[in-house]
Symmetry: C2
Subunit: 264 residues, 2 copies
Amino acid sequence: MKRSERLIILTSMLVDRPGETLGLYDFSRVVGGAKSTLSEDLSIIKQTLASRGLGSVETVTGAGGGVTYIPALDAELVGEKLEELCRELSDPRRILPGEFIYMTDILYSPIWAWDIGRIFAEKFRSSKPDFVLTMETKGIPLATMTARALNCPLLIIRRAHRVTEGPAVSINYITGSSKTIGNMSLPRRALPLGAKVVLVDDFMKAGGTARGMLDLMQEFQAQVLGIGVVVETAQPEKKLIDNYYSLLTLKNVKGKEVQIEPTN
Amino acid sequence: MKRSERLIILTSMLVDRPGETLGLYDFSRVVGGAKSTLSEDLSIIKQTLASRGLGSVETVTGAGGGVTYIPALDAELVGEKLEELCRELSDPRRILPGEFIYMTDILYSPIWAWDIGRIFAEKFRSSKPDFVLTMETKGIPLATMTARALNCPLLIIRRAHRVTEGPAVSINYITGSSKTIGNMSLPRRALPLGAKVVLVDDFMKAGGTARGMLDLMQEFQAQVLGIGVVVETAQPEKKLIDNYYSLLTLKNVKGKEVQIEPTN
């Protein structure tokens, strides 16, 4: 096989499986070749992707070692994506009664979910989380992609306990905006005690759900490394939680006008 | 830039965005070069990936045209993955009271979700669906990945109607196994009338949920091209729906023994 062909195949295998460690055996099974040739190829791929900000290729040594592709998104591209998202969301046809914005189509688009998931992953990667958590339902696709970009397991907090998941920890929480009492639940066996987690969600108004998630995490003695939301509302200014990372801020919905901007 | 570098960059851009059509401009923005060089590079990538069964690269002509990467999974690899999944799921520690099998960790693993999503995508690709649908919650990650592999929007059917999604169509359905009445709902604006859809879910026992999804799709005059489930139970043999594609069949759970096999 020619070097150019090997480079194409190895790159496609790496990029297809972000975060996973692929052993030299996995590669040589497909492209053949001596170990030294393979190492040389991987080093060319590493340098090329790094030079264009397309991600890094990291070598994991020891037993079970191999090579891992870590996707990247440069800051300029993130800025462009967020501007585009604002344009999309400020379309007046998205305004629903009650001054809600219809954003389900964006949240459920695999392309947007992957972009947003990657932005969150970029933000939280250095803290090395063990799990990505979200509360059902609308944030699940982007949480799935955050988990994929970080190569972490995803966990979904449910509104009610299900018999098919075994013993669970349930808490009540107060939804910040409507002041009703909700329930959230996570199976005991899903999250080991003391794990490092990041929480992601699609939308935050008063922060009641996020507050509930933090309380639930305490029951698991989890270390919450970060909270990411796609859209937060400017009002109320004082949220029920302190530290979080939001991509966009919804300033106002008035008549036919939606004011939404990248969060400063 | 050397050809080898261009090939690496182009391959990574394509594989990172399965199903999306990337214009020649998107590529030349990153790698530069004349249009003819670019076409030559893309044709090398196309041939190389195809020759190893790693996916196809298709050219879309006309305005808005460009090049699309379609991921592939060869039949032998699918067989290996399903065998591995059976081994994982037959671990007796997964048995829950009521002879349920704990499979949440698998369903929420981004690696498994991507593998399963790709298997479903492979099955349904030729029928060219417009949307991938699932019923909340546990099937959402794999439905997200199915949608990504097909580059279709995902739609999630909810158990209750939410005000933040606008007018919705709701139906009642009878859960096949426990004979209780449930509700499922989808926003009117989410799915245009007469669309072509595939339905995916994690688990099927009697098929009540799938039956409900079919009924809901009738309200949207949707054409259901296929139904995919990860695990079906051998009993009851007669399901409430006729045509579906299941990956694994759970034959029996008895004491400490789980009998699960790839579906014939």
